[in-house]
Amino acid sequence: MKADLNKFPELNKTKFENRGKELRLGIPVINSVVIGNSIAVGFGDGTIRIFKAGQSSEPIKAHNGIVLCISKDGDDIITGGDDGRFLRISLNGEISEIANFGSRWVDHVTANNGSLVCTSGNNVYLWMAGRKEPKILEHESTIGGVAFDSKGRRLAVSRYGGVTLWKKDYSNKWKSSNLLWKGSHNKVIFSPDDRYLVTSMQENQLHFWRLKDKTDSTMSGYGAKVKSFAFVHDTKFLVTSGSNDAVCWPFDGIGPEGRQPICLPFVGNKLVTFVEPFPNENAIFTGLSDGSVFLSEIEKSSNTIIIRSFTESEVTTISVTEDGSSILIGDMAGNILWTSIWDEENK
């Protein structure tokens, strides 16, 4: 008799796995985005799937190669691919092409408040509300990430050597200033209160700027690149991957400088590969390199429960619906768990 390697043990499943829907697609899960109570997932074969409560998800062919990035514009999904296309996809699965860059990859997409952005190579392409042609914002090196602030008036573009911060003035002109720090910067985010800007770097560290006085500092000590990080509970903590613990830096009050992070440990010494805040709670979901996912309260680390047992493939995405009722977990091997968070009696 031969063991079937494609199946992991059915024993010891969590209640979340038992009551949820599991898919074994064998296609790398790239990332996902929440639109209300639906979740759209991008895959390494160019397809996306839209998960809605009580409905099955069919693959929608969007890109020829890989869905490199996925985000949202209002109620629409936006994606970029290695086929050079920047797409808009409705929740009903209707696809329209916003732009096509041919053999150049579309590496990052984002939108806010009517402005729509994608990046390809060194350029940001910015569509202002109602405009057909994009404005091209040029940079000296390849763009590592883009993010709008909460109002969509500032656009942060991370790159080699720091961040270019574009600001829209009252005549709707975009002007840039630079936040410099040596090295290559990847993902960038604003804090929800717009006071801080945080980047992850090619080195195993993060960098942040306090925008009102442009003071900056580094958060280091990681064993791996920090690929996933997010602010929790307004701007109380920044939770980060890249270590065997989920590392939570305090950003309330005076910020993280001179303060110690809270480190949430997990059994087995696996690398944290994805972190996702639980909406409106002081708690996070943490995905590890073995596929397991835990829910922990940040300040009471003893209060940790397992959501998904191991799959032996690193967690590449976790999304929680806006109402906090359902969670979607995806990994590099294409295993998906789509399940409700609350027990029936607690709903």
Partner: protein, 323 residues
Amino acid sequence: MDSNKQVPVTVLTGFLGAGKTTLLNRILTEQHGKKYAVIVNEFGEQGIDNDLVVDADEEVFEMNNGCICCTVRGDLIRILSGLMKRADKLDAIIVETTGLADPAPVAQTFFVDQDVADRTKLDAIVTVADAVHLSSQLTDHHEAEEQIAFADVVLLNKIDLVDESGLEAVKERIRKINPFAKIINTTKCGVSLNEILNLDAFSLKRVLEVEPDFLESDHDHEHDDDVTSLSFVSDTPLDMEKFQDWFSKLLQTKGQDILRTKGILDFTGESDRYVFQGVHMLMDASPMGKWPEGKVRSSRLVFIGRNLENMNLKEGFENCKSA
């Protein structure tokens, strides 16, 4: 990491017009049924016949780790990480560089970036050289020397256009720079593909198999900044502490001028062979099993770089011998 899961990456270097595109198209058309991704630079020659061609920018990043010669190719990290997310698995990846590219950042990317190192491996650096023009290119351009210095294979192309003495002279020049490189004579890049693909040239196991042409220290080169090689052999076992002390200081202070190093070391009191290979300051080293029975245990060390004669290498190496 299971090396079978790592996709091999072959780097093609060489000056414009040497025949890189010809070789690339030969690889792509002759390897039927294999899935390749080809990463090309935007200024490269056109006409590559493959489904999956990715444009790269040859963007060199300095790592912010206090090591000035530690540079990586940022665009390669981005593209290789992206390609590893594809649903269909690739058999190999080929990176074509521009004629003026320094191969060091390409090689260093595979040492420095963990994601790249986990999922891909540098298979070999193949340098296509034009037998007619290589000599003058080596004299005029730093980059040509570096491309020869880093090569695992030099494909000496267009040999039908030089006479025998000219060919010998250019080969002699290549060997002076890089005694490891396998030189293959071709016209129109006609080479058996198993001589340039799946070589695993950067694995420590391969270091054990390579027998460089040991050359005597050579002082007759024309310029002080010429790339040359020096090698040392000792049948006296080395003192591990002394060696580590000398070698780490050497790389820290002279790492910019030392392009490549390889070595097999016999340490006093150790039953295993120690093998290493490095690019500038970055090093991959490991014990590689027992010494073969009945064979003389001896340490061998080879440097390829600039200004090697000013580094007191012989004296430094001698001082590492166990008293």
